[in-house]
């Protein structure tokens, strides 16, 4: 059955499905109960499932993730919400030293299937610490899986796939796309959450994007068509692991690759993708892999954030450079 819904509503519906089908699952976070979360992603779920499964937690991110680890050790499957990207750092130690390593430290005996939902990214005209993209900091940590949907259908299914995964999953939600409407087929599961997807086929160059920038990449591909360039767009979907096979296959066909993310270019996932693709498809490349990302600065003040964020023009400029090489 196909329904039109916003990306936000698709996550809500996905969470509803998780709570309905797994009685060991529960939601926890700041303001997620009565209020339904600052973005209302958990709206209405406390009424349906009760305070013991939709828990308004005290205000402490280390406590939220740390108690979720404890619950998981007892056989529960918590899905916790961190209110904003820039607020995850008090929980950084719990995520990287505890959650990520529990399976390895216990020699595979213990699993901690915790899902951490984090609204991320900028472009919403907000104040500091509300617009960040910290995904690379987590991708560098073995033991975690990191996924991010870019559309409603994926959001509905990927949150469920995250919940059923035995490894800890960080689920980055592209907050500026919460209100993006799309068709959700609740009868047909999305592609495996840990695979990339070609969302627009093309022959002349490849753009890899994820989360909030996928619609931008698609728009850039449309614009490039006016110049007679056929651009393939890949929605990465999974940031750890990264589906290098899908990217490699595309680049072997197109010969050119642009990787874009809102996170700073330096030390970002674009660098990892560039290096891997250079190794895997060196002889297919017609130009160096180019990156279009944020600058090496704290996320800027909102009045100038549009000059910081990758947009259609920056992608077209990068395509020009790639084709000119």
């Amino acid at each position: 059955m196909t329904t039109t819904m916003t990306l936000a509503k698709a996550i809500t519906s996905g969470l509803d499905k998780v709570l309905e089908t797994n009685d060991k699952s529960l939601l926890m976070g700041e303001d997620i109960g009565r209020l339904g979360g600052v973005y209302r992603i958990t709206d209405g779920l406390i009424d349906k499932y009760g305070e013991h499964r939709v828990i308004d937690s005290p205000l402490g991110e280390a406590g939220i993730v740390g108690t979720a680890v404890g619950m998981a050790l007892r056989g529960f499957s918590p899905l916790v919400e961190i209110q904003f990207d820039g607020f995850v750092f008090p929980a950084f130690s719990q995520i990287t030293t505890q959650l990520a390593k529990m399976h390895a430290r216990s020699e595979g005996r213990l699993t901690t299937p915790v899902v951490i939902r984090i609204p991320y990214g900028g472009g919403i005209g907000s104040i500091e610490h509300h617009s960040e993209s910290p995904e690379a900091l987590f991708a560098h940590t073995a033991g975690l899986r990191i996924i991010t949907p870019s559309n409603a259908h994926d959001a509905y299914w990927m949150i469920q796939q995250a919940a059923s995964c035995q490894d800890p999953v960080i689920f980055f939600e592209p907050k500026r796309r919460y209100w993006l409407k799309g068709e959700v087929d609740t009868g047909t599961p999305a592609l495996d959450a840990f695979k990339a997807q070609v969302v627009r086929p093309g022959t002349d160059a490849t753009i890899v994007a994820y989360g909030p920038l996928v619609p931008i990449a698609l728009a850039a591909a449309d614009a490039a068509l006016e110049d007679g360039r056929s651009i393939e767009v890949i929605d990465l979907r999974s940031l750890s692991p990264i589906d290098f096979d899908t990217i490699t296959e595309s680049v072997q066909k197109t010969g050119r690759l642009i990787v874009t993310h809102e996170a700073p270019t330096f030390g970002g996932l674009g660098g990892e993708i560039a290096a891997r693709i250079t190794e895997r498809a060196f002889l297919s490349l017609e130009a160096p892999v180019l990156r279009v990302g944020g600058f090496h600065m704290p996320y800027p003040i909102s009045k100038v954030e549009s000059q910081y964020l990758p947009d259609i023009d920056k992608l077209l400029e990068a395509l020009d450079r790639s084709f000119a090489y």
Partner: protein, 380 residues
């Protein structure tokens, strides 16, 4: 740093066995010692002596270069045996990295425990077998886990009345130290546990020193006073008195188990040795202080009590000493014989589910290593 402000609010110290081995009665806690007979008393001494002997052997193994590190517990045996023996096997324990005595009460094999320190495992034992979690090196990281585990127990026990909870319910013990008491996660854990009435007993072994920093730097007030700030009861107990620790922990577990929420216990003890084998206490504390604590040794006072009451004779100690030596020899032998798992094993343990990067890197690693084997063969 002044102590004047804190002395005014100095809380009671629960004590059953005085440092000179005299048993006192206590109106609240005697009720929690009703079943303690002569055999149990001898058993507690035996537990403490075996733990100390193990600790001594592990320290020696480290000094001989056989362990990466060792974390001695000498002086804290009563706090650990008393609290560990108060738990039910179905209760879950989150230790720090120094709970070797608690481990003994949970039947975690001493040999297995050395796997972590020998550098052949990131954990060492199966936490599920003994409900005794892995050691945690990141200070206080285990504290919110304990609160969450307790919250999970509450979910399982929803709708149970107090009587059923007291009988069948489980509880959690979160061990920590005076140093960890400062960590934010300790605070957050206590807030969560208190707000959600989680059945958690917070057991602090205040051994007076966080490596080289004295307790006064961690807190201007006695640690137990903090309990009031979280809305939970707090009890201060002589941590070198195995009977008092047993009684107080039993009371606390009963309180937590029956649904009344968490409890904080401060067991006042003293780390007679170094923080770890990498530490040198002569650089930061006076030998006079160590001399002051030496007569309060938990083993000495129980030995005095046992001898004064004719519950043991020399044969008991001779036999125990022989058993302890045999145990130590076995532990040493086991530790030296542990096979070193290949790095390939580590790849398998990173994720629970198949992961393409792991598979790719493992394949590369195996091929690379195999190249050396082929080269070696070629030389013959």
């Amino acid at each position: 740093m002044t102590r004047a402000a804190t002395e005014a609010t100095e809380p009671d110290l629960i004590q059953i066995l005085t440092p000179d081995g005299q048993r006192q009665s206590h109106e609240t806690y005697d009720a929690y010692l009703g079943d303690v007979d002569d055999d149990m008393l001898r058993g507690f001494y035996r537990d403490m002596a075996l733990t100390r002997r193990f600790d001594q052997e592990a320290t020696a193994l480290q000094r001989q270069g056989q362990l990466c590190l060792w974390v001695p517990l000498r002086g804290q045996e009563a706090a650990q045996i008393g609290s560990g023996r108060a738990t039910r096997r179905s209760d879950y324990i989150f230790p720090t990295y120094r709970e070797h005595g608690v481990a003994l009460t949970r039947d975690v094999s001493f040999s297995e425990m050395l796997r972590l320190f020998r550098g052949i495992s990131g954990g060492g034992w199966d936490p599920r077998e003994n409900n005794f979690h892995m050691y945690t090196m990141v200070l206080a990281a285990q504290m919110p886990h304990a609160a969450g585990y307790g919250m999970a127990l509450n979910m399982e026990q929803r709708g149970w009345d107090e009587a059923r909870r007291a009988k069948e319910g489980n509880a959690v013990v979160a061990y920590f130290g005076d140093g960890s008491s400062t960590e934010g996660e300790t605070h957050e854990s206590m807030v969560f546990a208190s707000s959600f009435n989680a059945p958690v007993v917070y057991f602090c072994q205040n051994n007076q020193w966080a490596i080289s920093v004295p307790f006064e730097v961690q807190s201007k007030v006695p640690l137990v006073n903090r309990a009031a700030g979280y809305g939970m009861p707090g009890v201060r107990v002589d941590g070198n008195d195995v009977l008092a620790v047993l009684a107080v922990t039993r009371w606390a577990l009963e309180h937590a188990r029956s649904g009344k929420g968490p409890v904080l216990i401060e067991a006042v003890t003293y780390r007679l040795g170094a923080h770890t084998t990498a530490d040198d206490p002569t650089k930061y504390r006076m030998s006079e202080e160590e001399a002051q604590w030496a007569p309060k040794d938990p083993l000495i006072r129980l030995e005095t009590y046992l001898r004064d009451n004719n519950l043991v004779d020399d044969t008991f100690f001779e036999q125990l000493s022989a058993d302890a030596d045999a145990m130590a020899a076995k532990v040493r032998e086991d530790a030296m014989a542990f096979p070193v798992p290949p790095l390939a094993k580590s790849f398998e343990q990173v994720y629970a589910e198949a992961h393409p990067l792991i598979q790719e890197e493992l394949a590369w690693h195996l091929e690379y290593e195999a190249g050396f084997a082929d080269a070696a063969e070629g030389e013959h």
